[in-house]
Amino acid sequence: MERLKHLPTLRIAARQPITLRFNGRTLAGCAGDTVATLLYGSGERIFGRSLKYHRPRGLYSLDGECSNAMMTIDGMPNLNAELTPAREGMRVEPQNVMGSLKWDLLGGLDHLAFAMPAGFFYKTLHKPSWLWPRAVKGIRRAAGLGVLHPEARFDQRCDAIYPNVDVCVVGGGPAGLSAALAAAEEGLRVALLEARPRLGGFCDYRVRADAQGKPLHQWAAALADQVRARDNIRVFTDAPVVGAYPDGRVAAFQRGGPEDAFDLRYIEITAAGAVVATGCIERPLLFAHNDRPGVMQMGCAHRLLHTYGIRPAADAVFSVAHDLGLEAAIDLHDQGVTVHCVADARTDGQDPLLIAALEQRGIPLRRGWVAHTAHGRSRLRAVTLGTPAGTFRQRIACELLVASAGLTPLTGLVTMAGGQVKYDPRTGFFLPVRLPPNMQACGRLRGLHDPAALAADGTLAGLRAAEGLGCRPQRKIAAAEAALAAAPGAPRGSKWLAAPGKGAKTFICFDEDGTLKHLHQAMAQGFDVPELIKRFTAIGTGPGQGGIPGHNLPLLVAAGQASPASDPMPTTVRPPLVAAPIAAYAGGRHDMAKRTPMHDAQVAAGGRMERVGEWFRARRFGTDPGAAAEIMAVRTNVGLLDASTLGKFRVFGPDALKALQRVYVGDMARTRPFRTTYAAMCNEDGCVIDDGVVIRTGDNDFYITTSTGRAAQTVEWFRYHTRYDGWDYHIVNLTDAHGVINIAGPNARKVLEAMTADDVANTAFPFAACRDLTLAGGIPARAMRLGFVGELSYELHVPASCMETAWRMAEAAGAPFGIAPFGLEAQNTLRMEKGHVILGSESEQRTVLHDLGLGFLWCRTKPEAKTVGALALRDTADQPGRLKLVGFKMETPGDGPPRDGSPVVNGRIRGYVCTARHSHALGEPVGMALVEEELARGGTRLGIYEDGCGGRLRYGTVAPMPFYDPEGTRMRI
């Protein structure tokens, strides 16, 4: 279809064609189109089928207020075509269609509507009980929205930002623009959020002149230009707001175009003040078959014409109740659409200029008339208009019926943030009567309509927000108040509700196929509160977030009440205000991994790096998954490990010992100067959360290490558990400040001797000791003799800036022995042979110290320390029914070790394999498992179920630990 080309309000680039595939056909539009306008402009009138009755549905609004335009786009289901910009090559499929759009196989369900009354899903098909599970399958297949294919993958660029501003303005129409300008002129930092792609709101597409004779779209564009020119206003378009919260937080998400760095962006604004200028949506007109394709809202028809250059039909009938409808009729006529008749539900109150314009064009205006029925099946053929009671009727053939009962202010943000709305009989709106602190509301939201009033009201709101933040714009406030008082106030609204009749095909809710009849049924069954009726009938619970029924429902309920005096009660609005993709909330995937100073050197040496917590570490060097060569080097020669990721802390001050006594279960008073003490931390439940060494390095001065995974929480943990005590101590996190080199193997001492002039002989530096050494070149190193891998081993803690020099020095010193780095896989096997645990591998959430055989680390005789976890350790010391850590060997060693995590099945699942590896030292597989206590005795046969074993268990036998060097002589040499 040819687009209109010379309208001043066009927001498409007619010279940039875009084609997409819809339902297997190629359709053309142009840049600036949404998928919905492209389809409509190409002549498509049926957009989908309704949820329950499979009725054909077409374009109704343009702001995603109902599910009519929900489609599967490039494989992603349930996207609203009205909100999705058209892009070249898109694949668009309609949803909930059985057969074809035009001949839906389930279209006959429409005739069975009588069998699906309100509450149908709660009441029908539940008896006999076998019926329901089967019925539900059929219902699910027939009803519902798009289908997400399990193999679908979406390459969306997601992002999240958290701006901090003084004033957040929601809504980029005339009021919102004026508010943003007013606040910005006070020197405040302003964020402006607009859901549509353009600023200007409902003036963006209007050619009518304001009081000064300037077309409204020009006036709005000038306001928008002023806003864009301000450095202190940050404008977000295409950014619908999903929620506002009591302490000044506004959340939105933004759709990005190809020129943006994101497809979806979550925006969470912290603002000291907020201005809500969200304007209005339309209140749907209720009459029989009001959902037929060819029936649309006045703003939809108006914007199709003026924004997108699409003549919505050759001829049209209007049934409206607002001046905007009369304006749309005039504009459609002026662009060549034959307007047969305009029915206005209001008997009076119309703008005389508009009436004159209609008369001048020869368009008949029927005051007080409304649409009663839309005729036609898959698309509109004719409409019956009439007086409210139906005394006079007239049937008019037409292609398009523009139908609207007036407007509905979007007050959701106000109530969500804690404000209150009340029904106002004059405007027929729910208007804000109490605003949350630091929130202003302005514009059409308050019932205003006249452009001058909107500008004055917006300015006033912006100034009041500024005043709330300490500005003193008193004179400007007085001027704005005077301007507002001089401008026309809120116009009277239409009271029209619904055409008479049972309303079996009068749809209050398109999303859920909820009709007037359903509402009457619910009320006849005693439901009298909109909130409950909403849940019973599902009206307003669909993906349009109540946009279509939101206003009509409470008005209809109030009209049906026994006591006519009762005010209509709106249903509660909750976030998200618009359907927001979960991906938008998830934000971006920023990988914040840390690298040790030796990262690049290890990669160069063939290291296979992997994520361990927040770090990258070398799993192994070379291609052997078992890292046999690395293991053998440590057992028989010497190896080098980068252990920089260990948590490292200095704890010092007069009360440092008290703090250590609180968090470590052992007695830290017994630590000796420059001796390493193996110590564990538990949580309040006695479960082991960390292990490491504690070294007393001076009076009231300690150096401690934690596991890699606990490093980030340790400072917080210390401070939390001493928060009531007011103790005088400090804890400093040195994790990133110190690198750690572990030199391990029988030749380790020879390597260290070549690196330092200090005496490191076994007598001067025995096992479990700690020494502050000076390496060649003056590098300070805190060295510890530990036995994690079970061999002679030195852990050198050096300043991170010296780490590479020290590492190169160790490599040079070890060159005569052929020293080589080893990785986590080798370390894992080495320590497992020694029966040493890694928390997280040999423990889970419920594992207490006793379960690991580490109960000896707990000191019972320091109650004054109020040790974290001590009481739980007391209670679990002999508690039956716990999983205990055991070592095991395999009955058929030739089959190799079982996989980590395999369940232990003796009759039933009674534990699981923690770590199992082939031991090169022993020449057979060994492992550790957590099993029920009864299975923990030596020699017990363990059945091990491995994935893919086909039910044939493998068997192991509980064996004593450590498997390797049980006397521990090798680490003491």
């Binding site: 919260y245 302490d247 937080r249 439940d685 917080e716």
Partner: protein, 85 residues
């Protein structure tokens, strides 16, 4: 979500920078003579009031301090400190 807190050291900051540390239940009970029930109550039982409660927060992404604030659990807003809690 949507919580701003006043850190005694850093001033008003976004709630995302903080970690919740539970209700203010007072100092740890004495270990000597403590029953299991008393212990479990201290460690795990909460009052869960709908209204103002005093609670612990840690400015984990800031200065790292633990501090007490009063928060209205109904509005999820910090309120001035109440001594009577």
């Amino acid at each position: 979500m949507a919580l701003n807190l006043n850190c005694p050291i850093c001033g008003p900051r976004s709630g995302y920078e903080f970690r919740f540390g539970g209700e203010d239940k007072g100092p740890r009970p004495a270990e000597e003579g403590a029953t299991t029930a008393l212990w479990l109550a201290y460690a795990h039982l909460n009052r869960n009031v709908a209204g103002v409660q005093r609670e612990w927060w840690c400015h984990k992404d800031g200065c790292g301090t633990w501090f007490r604030v009063c928060r209205d659990t109904v509005t999820n807003c910090e309120v001035p400190t109440v001594d009577t809690l």
